[in-house]
Subunit: 337 residues, 4 copies
Amino acid sequence: MIIVMKDHASAEQIAGVVTQVEAQGFRVHLSQGEERTIIGVIGDERPVEVGLFEVLDGVERTVPILKPYKLASREMHPADTLVPLDGLKVGGPRLALIAGPCSVESRSQILETAQAVKEAGATALRGGAYKPRTSPYAFQGLGEAGLELLVEARNLTGLPIVTEAMSEDQVDIVARYADVIQIGARNMQNYPLLNKVGKSGRTVLLKRGMMSTIEELLMAAEYILAQGNTRVMLCERGIRTFEKATRNTTDINAIPVLKRQTHLPVILDPSHGTGKVDYVAAVAKAGVAAGADGLMIEVHSHPEKALSDGGQSLKPEAFAKLVKDIRRIAEAVDREV
Amino acid sequence: MIIVMKDHASAEQIAGVVTQVEAQGFRVHLSQGEERTIIGVIGDERPVEVGLFEVLDGVERTVPILKPYKLASREMHPADTLVPLDGLKVGGPRLALIAGPCSVESRSQILETAQAVKEAGATALRGGAYKPRTSPYAFQGLGEAGLELLVEARNLTGLPIVTEAMSEDQVDIVARYADVIQIGARNMQNYPLLNKVGKSGRTVLLKRGMMSTIEELLMAAEYILAQGNTRVMLCERGIRTFEKATRNTTDINAIPVLKRQTHLPVILDPSHGTGKVDYVAAVAKAGVAAGADGLMIEVHSHPEKALSDGGQSLKPEAFAKLVKDIRRIAEAVDREV
Amino acid sequence: MIIVMKDHASAEQIAGVVTQVEAQGFRVHLSQGEERTIIGVIGDERPVEVGLFEVLDGVERTVPILKPYKLASREMHPADTLVPLDGLKVGGPRLALIAGPCSVESRSQILETAQAVKEAGATALRGGAYKPRTSPYAFQGLGEAGLELLVEARNLTGLPIVTEAMSEDQVDIVARYADVIQIGARNMQNYPLLNKVGKSGRTVLLKRGMMSTIEELLMAAEYILAQGNTRVMLCERGIRTFEKATRNTTDINAIPVLKRQTHLPVILDPSHGTGKVDYVAAVAKAGVAAGADGLMIEVHSHPEKALSDGGQSLKPEAFAKLVKDIRRIAEAVDREV
Amino acid sequence: MIIVMKDHASAEQIAGVVTQVEAQGFRVHLSQGEERTIIGVIGDERPVEVGLFEVLDGVERTVPILKPYKLASREMHPADTLVPLDGLKVGGPRLALIAGPCSVESRSQILETAQAVKEAGATALRGGAYKPRTSPYAFQGLGEAGLELLVEARNLTGLPIVTEAMSEDQVDIVARYADVIQIGARNMQNYPLLNKVGKSGRTVLLKRGMMSTIEELLMAAEYILAQGNTRVMLCERGIRTFEKATRNTTDINAIPVLKRQTHLPVILDPSHGTGKVDYVAAVAKAGVAAGADGLMIEVHSHPEKALSDGGQSLKPEAFAKLVKDIRRIAEAVDREV
């Protein structure tokens, strides 16, 4: 960390800061510029509260130098982490294609959709049993009955299951049924939940919060990794901006940024990233071209009957067509489907 | 809701939408413009999933007409809801002044700060025992020991306690000690938690998510109200924008907007809203002038030793000065401290 | 447009709005819901000021139905507009690759860079002679001397020139030298400038403002088209969001949205979209996969000596490698380089 | 500036950066931490292009230490600048109240409104003759005829005139008629225009761009000041965020931030800041409480007939009421109206 002093900081104020820095067990490196004095703080700054220094007399601001995460960092762990998903190693050359409905709604819906995405080339089935909904009056998911239907779909198709746990209380039951526990965007900073899935040891798909920076996403992953669970896939699913033509703004930049900053695999969700079925295919292709390790796509056998997110769900035929297109892009970047 | 058809929508497509609308139990009102056909959906649209209509052939988009919340709405409940906070009625003429440290850190810290804010004129004490921290390496709060210290501070000063519950599992224990359960910004859309505090019957201070719209804040309140708990105070605490000079951007507009849209009282938190101690007083005064029913302000007896948020915490003397300034503004808008 | 009345709007208020709507020459279509009355305004609403209706007693809000642009709209002009750029038809199967330095800095710099990008496969040369700089103390461009150097580079390489005009006063001189006049992000809503380049008849590359919506970009294009100039290319160059890991957030969604909403060709600028040389290639590939009609990329023969934007400029070798990668992606989406 | 090296930067890379820094005329201060080397750049960094360093091998990022503006900075100029506006000194104890219609529309409209705001207590008259409109089909202002009507209104009421120039070509004519030249939000970074109003010597009201940071606003002011013109008032008018309940988000934090960073007076425009007449008064009061030196408010004698911005314009009676309320707030912060 460096501490930038105000322009007229007195020798006494500088000495006060130095004392405080050393009291925290750091070494100090002082640099007197023409207009500003800068105090370098030498040591592992990660666990330190910057406010300790920012309130001292004469301090203008502090600038962190080290990244606040360690376990998630590629610096500390240069090799790609490969996360097993049934036969597939996510993060390796073959792309993960996670497809299925937003919510599990009925036996016929989930079985029909599961078979369709399997035939089209999906490598995992998604489907929500517990649904975080903005409105208390909206469909909230089938709960455990939904999990049972997912298992039936897995038995039928062989596809591993990705489904969301919304609270620490749901982790055990979801872990009992699912192959991958999804942490939704609204829960990216639900720390009790992150700790619990960390302890569960189960593979986690961690979605970026719609209001979270890439650094915060990596800090959320750090919570899970700090519990000893390294089976973490990150998922970019669009951020909230001023643009209203789409439901969210897919942060395509996040893909190369994450691939550089972390060793964890990165999945793109173009369904939430755009929120409109018309734009899903273009953005899915963009994600693969940018280096994503997989895609998560909403597919519904009958979107016009969907109890949630119908407007962004592909029909099975459209998904099958997209997989073909994705295969061509994948080959153009030396990946495979 | 209205459904806007594409410009070349066929008679067949229009008929298809009408059928689907009627199948959902609504009446239809058709309006043929020169360039567009519009289908009005008559009935209570709140529980309806718009995706049902958006995926139909020929549909361009849907526009909701009714607000998605009911119980939180001033239309349904024109009179101000007054939330009791010890002797005070929050939402009435007298302002709530909730002050105290970000985290409870030690016995001396909380007792000293509690006495100082009491003397300065605070009407409630804030202090976190369970802390949501971006980093797993940062201080996470004292837990139940912190709650016990808060009770000791209440016994000493008579100030009611406001403290956060981060998950449904913490609601019971927090409710046992605290007068008001705070739902933090990161948990504004943690629906299991909202349901649980709704059922608890305890007074709730619901903070706006840093990238949540005002409508989403009211939908979160709706979850609590739907459980029969009407003791809800809303709290504007700054939103995330592109501006970097401050930690968040205080959405001062939100105060008159909320006062118009809902009957619930509105508190402003200028400490998180600005994130810098230098700007807290100006924004606190602005909040009162704009019509806020109270303020929530971080005060720490020794900010330079704070384990969290020191950089935005006022010293007790500065808080005492601010209360005097606030009193003058309050009088200028026919309120009191 | 539809006008949504407040929930307790009186018959008199409704009549007042109807009178005002009809006074503006529109027909009215009234729809009485259970909780709200809606007044449909039938006719071409584009030139109408919505404030006229929003201030009337009893009105809650207005909702536009028609898109505010006409000439830029694909509805009015379904076929793709192909914009000639030397031999190339931008918007057709072959991609435009516009490359070169941020600023023209010296004869050797621009000639060297121009030759390098030509050899690598570029189809046009970019380079700024007039530079909009945040700081008055920064290099402001060589002005007309820079334009002359660009012409020399064109003579040497045969590449058409794309360069910016920052004000209406610069349009004539830029038009004298350049093949394409660039309107920069900061000037997207500089209406006198838009009118002037519209009248110039010269091909225009219109960059999206960093906090402008897609609709506003199309309205800016509409200004140019309204002057009879249809040679307009749109350029997505990243928007401003809360994310700080990159200089801007490339709005990849904007590519399929624009391709659907308008007939004009769409170029992606991944250099400004990311602001970091490390991420340019990934996002360039994403843009082509998403359907962009071309790319605009900063290349500098010696980025470490650049007077502007060195941090986002590719070296010629990196650009040559990127063109090869782009060719593969292009083929995977049935385009060519 | 400090330059942060990558974690495994070699001695050779560090030496390379040092050479480049010294070649630019700076002194170097090296600091070897455990995980990172930091290179301090000693000297006036303001005119330096950071890209020069960011592209060097082994560099992770650069961090500016000095503020990029000088003339606008309170550090360089601690005393408040008072800008004369007719008899008033803006920035002194008495608040500037600039009121009037968005656009000048007709003789009766502007004279009637001018008299009404004068009677209510306004100290200057606003009104646009040249209007930047998103749509080419919207009313674009009366041009010079509008300026003549403003002069007639000034003759009638004695109020000085504030009106916008949209391009450098309009500066001379606007300067001929107006007391204060307004630079609109869309033109905050129109550098030829800033230079021209700088040279004009006329008082300038510089509005913050809706997408601009506070630092960029100060850099825009720096352009004007660098031309020797110190009669600059800054105007916060709301920024663009994800919130949709209001047209813009008033950045109330910007008021104390600007008052601390700069010596120039700060005006708040709550009409654009909210975009809805219902919220203008609350936010106007907030601005005064936060320390604004004045307000700019849209008032129209007949908002329901306004050709622009009717929805955010107060009627004269509402403005008169607001001035009374403002007076009370002003007194509560030791200011006057």
